[in-house]
């Protein structure tokens, strides 16, 4: 088998596992499991970026991959773990609305994403172009996860997963964004994450729980 074919096949495999992990995240109840899955998603993302960097011979993408590894596989999951320990939320689980229905909606979103990506992937020239649909699907699924969750921590994980999807979309459509933007996004992510971490404590102080449904009381009549 030709090396580029092999790379393409490997990329498809990785993309498929990303999608699988997204579905898995959609159905997990335990916060801790979710963090593990998020770390796995980051790891697969790291590998796929590395593969693209290797096959396209782009030095910048190596840096992106390194950044992904540092931030999304090591730093953020570690901080998240510590955070839920501190909050005493590691064994939290939440009741989800009807997992099969959520899955079916997610399936519909994947089909929609593929339909949407079809014209784009025809225009793209990258070897990863077939995976744009998957990237979009990951974004949608992460969004769906945010909608169905009630706890503050899981919302943030959904948000981070969405960013993963965006990153993957960027790599597969145009071999990643310019380094400056990528660095900027990484920094935003970190800062946003710290702010959200502070909010967790504030929310818990206010409502004695991280359940966001308490925030309905904030609405003015």
């Amino acid at each position: 088998m030709h090396p580029s074919h092999l790379t393409a096949a490997l990329l498809k495999l990785l993309a498929a596992s990303l999608l699988l992990i997204s579905f898995a995240m959609l159905s997990r109840r335990r916060t801790q499991r979710l963090i593990t899955l998020f770390a796995w998603q980051g790891a697969v993302l790291f590998m796929s970026t590395l593969l693209v960097a290797h096959s396209a011979g782009l030095r910048e993408l190596y840096y992106s991959a390194a950044l992904t590894l540092l931030l999304k596989v090591i730093a953020l999951p570690w901080i998240l773990h510590r955070l839920i320990h501190r909050l005493g939320a590691q064994w939290d689980s939440e009741t989800l609305v009807n997992i099969p229905t959520t899955m079916l909606v997610g399936l519909g979103l994947v089909i929609f994403a593929f339909g949407l990506a079809h014209p784009i992937s025809r225009m793209a020239t990258t070897i990863t172009r077939n995976t744009i649909g998957i990237a979009l699907a990951i974004i949608f699924l992460a969004f769906l996860m945010m909608i169905t969750r009630r706890k503050a921590v899981t919302q943030v994980i959904g948000f981070l997963a969405m960013e993963n999807g965006l990153f993957f979309a960027a790599t597969s459509a145009t071999y990643g964004m310019p380094m400056v933007i990528e660095l900027g996004i990484a920094l935003d992510l970190l800062v946003g994450f710290f702010i959200l971490g502070i909010f967790f404590f504030q929310i818990r102080e206010q409502f004695d729980s991280l359940d966001l449904s308490n925030m309905e009381a904030l609405k003015e009549d």
Binding site: F140, F143, L144, M146, I147, Q155, L212, M215, E216, K219
Partner: protein, 679 residues
């Protein structure tokens, strides 16, 4: 760019010195306003220097407006180095703008002189800020009149609305005033939207927004009617035509008196200007039913205003309703002019339009005069309610004498100016039988009857206004301390009353000024060929009037009577308590009140009002009589709209449930739908 080049050629062809000088004067107003901010609390600087300078500028503008009326030049065009790239501001000075600038300058000079004596610190907004808002208001009105493209017009129009809003809410700590200001701003914006839409129709698909291009646009009858109706609604909301008048009786009393005078005397006239500009200048076709519509709305507004003015007990509210009446009369004239023009009777159209124009000028003089007089009364007594005034003629002789001139003028009595325009309006009604529509021929004489009724009611209202404030006994003991207006205020009042007398005695002057406008708009003037003390608008053998001869007659008769009584007869003079009526003793509570004076009107026109009465019982220890009169329009038209908007808002408000996941769902669905368009 083609737009700019197209007009720049014509710019060269005209002498543009008058117009550029005019624009410099207008910006002089703005500079005066900014100068007021330098020392915002120094009343001496603002009142004694800036406001009198503003009055001088107003005189200059009136002078240049007159020049534009009588010079006979072609319209002057000027491109202002302002506005957006490729979309410059166009200014144009023709006879119509000249006439309204004359009106603005004449009344503005008097009001600014009065304001120099009126504004003082400690009444809401700081004087420096008031000075800025006041002069920006004046300048924006002048620019509305000078604007020659829709963009410039709307910018000036909105500046006018905003600056006047801030002036109305000068005493913004009082909740009713804030409420009145909000209502005014709301109506002003609804009106401005309609005007904007009207311009959108007028450009006729060519997307050129200069008035020059709109004159050339060919509209189908449907779109021309749409443009006309939108303009009528938009300008009608500003002018206070019924049923768009509701802001007027709230905003005028809320504003400081010079501002009420500016709004009622001048700002309402910019709406008249706008209707004339669009109907007679920009639109090249006119249908008879437009005229009938304007005529009907005008007559109804006139009658409505007069009836409501008769039952008011707040002196400024009374004047505000009287403004509605007068605007109604002006629109009656415009409606007749459109009707005659559409029926190809240009002479009669010119007569009706002349009546409308002269009445605009007159109203700007006498209504400003009366609003300013109420300002002096307000400062002297701190009372606005008619029930607490009375007998001020002896405490404030100057204001009383000058207000009497305004009162007689607005009541339509000869030899003052109000008579001239109402007479001209009645004259134009007399020619309606020449209209080639049998049905209209039968209906329009009824309009003349309504007009006569309105004029009589207006006189009745003015008797009430003057009698209750200035005659009789003081209704409150504190009125003994009322002081007369200061010299600047007197000068302002005297200037305006001089205008009332001048147009009344020498109506030929006003007729010539209006004639220049009708010549431009209709290509026809009324008969101007008579000596300066005489007017005979149709022919010299038919209905004519001379204010001067009448004045001479009045002076003669009064003089002879005086001589006969004082010298030939006994010549004794006896001073007695006013309205004594032969009773042995009399208190101020025994004289006729504002409520009592309006009672017959309230009785006759009962169905017009939404009344709430509280009558005392004979056994009450402290009898109290209270009456509250509301406008039926408010309940019938505005409250349902307000409720509908509220319901819609509540319904939309349900979107905001407070659940975070719902909000996420909204953005998610929006994203999906938008992406669906890409698909």
């Amino acid at each position: 760019m083609s737009l700019v080049e197209g007009t720049s050629q014509s710019v060269v062809a005209f002498s543009k010195h008058d117009l550029s000088f005019l624009l410099m004067l207008v910006f002089g107003w703005v500079i005066l306003g900014i100068a007021g901010l330098v020392r915002p609390h120094r009343v001496g600087w603002i009142a004694r220097i800036l406001f009198p300078l503003g009055a001088l500028i107003a005189l200059g503008i009136a002078g240049l407006g007159t020049l534009a009326l009588f010079s006979g030049h072609a319209p002057q065009i000027f491109l202002l180095p302002l506005g957006l790239p490729n979309l410059p501001f166009h200014a144009r000075l023709d006879t119509l703008s000249g006439f309204f600038l004359l009106l603005l300058g004449m009344a503005g000079a008097g009001i600014s002189t009065f304001a120099a004596g009126y504004f003082r610190s400690g009444e809401g907004t700081a004087p420096g800020l008031l000075c800025l808002q006041y002069h920006v208001f004046l300048a924006s009105m002048a620019l509305v009149i000078l604007a020659d493209d829709a963009y410039f017009f709307m910018v000036a129009w909105e500046t006018m609305a905003l600056s006047s809003y801030f002036l109305v809410t000068a005493q913004h700590r009082i909740p009713e005033i804030r409420r009145a200001g909000f209502l005014y701003l709301l109506m002003a914006h609804i009106g401005a939207l309609c005007i904007l839409l009207s311009f959108g129709v007028l450009q006729g698909g060519r997307w050129l927004f200069t008035f020059d291009a709109m004159r050339g646009a060919s509209l189908t009858s449907f779109w021309a009617s749409a443009a006309f109706l939108l303009a009528l609604i938009g300008f009608g909301a500003k002018a206070g035509l019924v049923p768009l008048h509701i802001w007027l009786p709230e905003a005028h009393p809320a504003a400081p008196s010079p501002v009420s005078a500016l709004m009622s005397g001048l700002m309402l006239k910019t709406a008249v200007y706008g209707v004339l500009r669009i109907t007679f200048d920009l639109l090249h076709i006119r249908y008879w039913w437009w005229g009938v519509l304007v005529l009907g709305v005008g007559l109804f507004s006139a009658l409505f205003g007069a009836i409501f003015a008769a039952v008011q007990t707040d002196m400024k509210r009374l004047l505000a309703y009287s403004s509605i009446e007068n605007i109604g009369l002006i629109f009656t004239g415009i409606g007749l002019a459109i009707l005659f023009e559409a029926c190809h009777l240009p002479l009669f159209a010119a007569l009706a339009l002349t009546a409308a124009l002269i009445h605009s000028l007159n109203h700007s003089l006498f209504k400003s005069l009366l609003f300013l007089a109420t300002g002096s009364v307000l400062h002297a007594t701190h009372q606005r309610s008619l029930g607490k005034l009375g007998g001020l003629i002896r405490r404030m002789p100057w204001v009383a004498a000058l207000a009497l001139i305004g009162t007689l003028a607005i009541a339509g009595l000869p030899p003052l100016n109000g008579f001239v325009s109402e007479w001209l309006l009645l004259q134009s009604f007399l020619f309606t039988p020449q209209i080639p529509h049998a049905f209209l021929n039968m209906l329009i004489p009824l309009g003349a009857a309504v007009l006569a009724l309105t004029a009589a009611l207006a006189a009745y209202v003015m008797v009430k206004f003057y009698g209750v404030i200035f005659l009789g006994q003081h209704r409150e003991p504190s009125l003994v301390h009322a002081h007369d207006a200061d010299w600047l205020e007197r000068m302002g009042l005297a200037w305006l009353s001089l205008g009332c007398i001048a147009i009344g005695v020498l109506p030929q002057l006003a007729l010539r000024a209006a004639g220049a406008v009708t010549q431009t708009l209709l290509g026809q003037t009324v008969n101007l060929a008579s000596p300066f003390w005489w007017i005979a608008p149709i022919t010299s053998r038919q209905s004519s009037y001379s204010g001067l001869i009448l004045l001479a007659g009045i002076i003669g008769v009064v003089g002879i009577t005086f001589v006969v009584v004082r010298i030939l007869a006994h010549g004794r003079m006896r001073r007695a308590v006013p309205w004594d009526c032969g009773y042995p003793w009399q208190t101020s509570r025994m004289q006729d009140t504002a409520e009592g004076f309006g009672q017959p009107i309230r009785h006759i026109f009962g169905p017009f009002f939404d009344m709430e009465r509280e009558l005392p019982f004979p056994t009450d220890a402290a009898p109290r009589y209270r009456i509250h009169i509301e406008d039926r329009m408010w309940k019938a038209l505005y409250l349902p709209i307000a409720r509908g908007v509220q319901q819609l808002a509540d319904w939309i408000g349900q979107l905001q449930g407070g659940r975070l996941s719902t909000y996420l769902l909204y953005s998610f669905l929006t994203l999906i739908v938008l992406l669906g368009f890409v698909l």
